[in-house]
Amino acid sequence: MSDRFQKYSAPIIILIIILILWESLVAAFDIEQFLLPRPSVILSNLVRVIILAPETTAPDASKIAAKLKDNLLIVSIPKNTPQEALKPIASAKIVTQISLFGRRFLLIQGQNLSPILQSSWVTLKEALGGLALGSSLGVLVALITARWTATREALLPFAIAANSMPIIAFAPIMNNWFGIDNPFSKMAIVAIMTFFPMMINTVRGLTLVDARSLELMRSYAASNLDIVLKLRVPNALPYLFSGLKVAAALSMIGAVVGEYFGGPRIALGVFITQEAALFRFSSAWAAIIIACILGIALYLIIILVERLAMPWHVSFR
């Protein structure tokens, strides 16, 4: 426990310090909202915190009910509040609740998901779809080049060149090809962006095999298929996962930036550009933060799968 605690506590403390500094400096220097909103204001676009006084009455609860439309609410209620007073929010969808310090804390979901969360879901689907498509194609092509070496010689220079191009520049073209509202226009751009790092990394893993390990296989008169399956593929796994981590980050970038060039009404990129155009910067910031959180979550999921797939690897000892 203490090991883990120490490992994670330092970055968490730094994050908290940064947030406190941000909050207090923006307030102290009176920085304009449109330049840099305070973190608490940004957060209020995602979650409202409502603390009820001990003498909560039905009208107070009605105020909450009014806010239930489209937000996540954290409501703190004194334990002894009569049920009667909470009637107006009786129909609220309670996600989870905990009791702490003699109060009940409810996490309540509004009737509709907030536009930010709805948009996030749309964008996440585009990113995941494109990631799945691009990375599986990348691995497939890499496997083909492992079997037919000539294709590797022919393809790899192009792949490396393509990997250093700003592929996102193709986004308007993809919108044109598949239609702005079609999620596939964003998936296509994500797929192209993730294809190259996946392919290059996997090819590297399949080819950078220890010479002795290959000699060993040859001394057993192993077939080419056996050499690929029992040596090259396991050898490529660590490379494949580092490719996947790069691809995961690229997939969120590709989806959001792809939407900057136009997309369905409800999507993170579109939401951010619209809110910024309307000077609603705090909600634009909130959407950006959600995009970041999704990117990080994707990355963490990949690390988890990596651990399960190769418990033997040096990085997990």
């Binding site: 057993y220 190769m310 040096v314």
Partner: protein, 261 residues
Amino acid sequence: MESVVSIQKVNKTFGEGTNNQVHALDDIDLVIQPNEFVSLIGPSGCGKSTLLRVIGDLITPTSGKITINGKSAHQARLDRDYGMVFQAATLYDWRTVAKNVQLPLELMKYSNDKKEARTREMLALVELEDFDRHYPWQLSGGMQQRVAIARALAFEPSILLMDEPFGALDEMTRERMNLELLDIWGKTQTTVIFVTHSITEAVFLSTRVMVMSARPGRLIQDITIDLPQPRNADSRENVRFFELETEVREALRQSESQKHE
């Protein structure tokens, strides 16, 4: 009795016709009988490892004839006549100890029962029964090398090719591994061809030591090691042991001076 290895006039030149052409093996003649333990010793870069790989059909000779168990080296490799052990254990990181030993058995389509039984037998032979579920990185260098030996012997190859297998181990571990290898050799009736840098190791293990000269690699002396069998820690203190060590050392010195002429 038919010889296990018969090599006639084998030459190997790397990069033939280029500027950095290297004549690695020069007119090698060598005959090895069943159940011999032959060491190849010589200065670095003398082509010992090349000769080992030529015998194992991992390198094709430029000229000459190689017969292994009455057939070509290539056919012998296809027939799985060779077990290989390198200086690095070359275990696959993603396989447990047991799975590493099973690797050749999987490739050779052994049945599951036979695979399991053989693995248990081999791990018992190298005294690692309790480590079957460990991963290679959890073992010491000596233990890893024992797994590599178990893997090489798992499919009962008639020839064990060892390329400085204990070269990376410390002196004490190396001496213990030498004893274990002799024990295994005694139990399995395998023919061993063993490349080494160590005079002591060569004399202690072998029935014959072949001394090689550097560039081009030639076999310059064939020294029969007539120490009594089976050998044990006391063999190292035998007077004859020192005589033979000296003989090998002199031969090596001679090969050095030949080079400088």
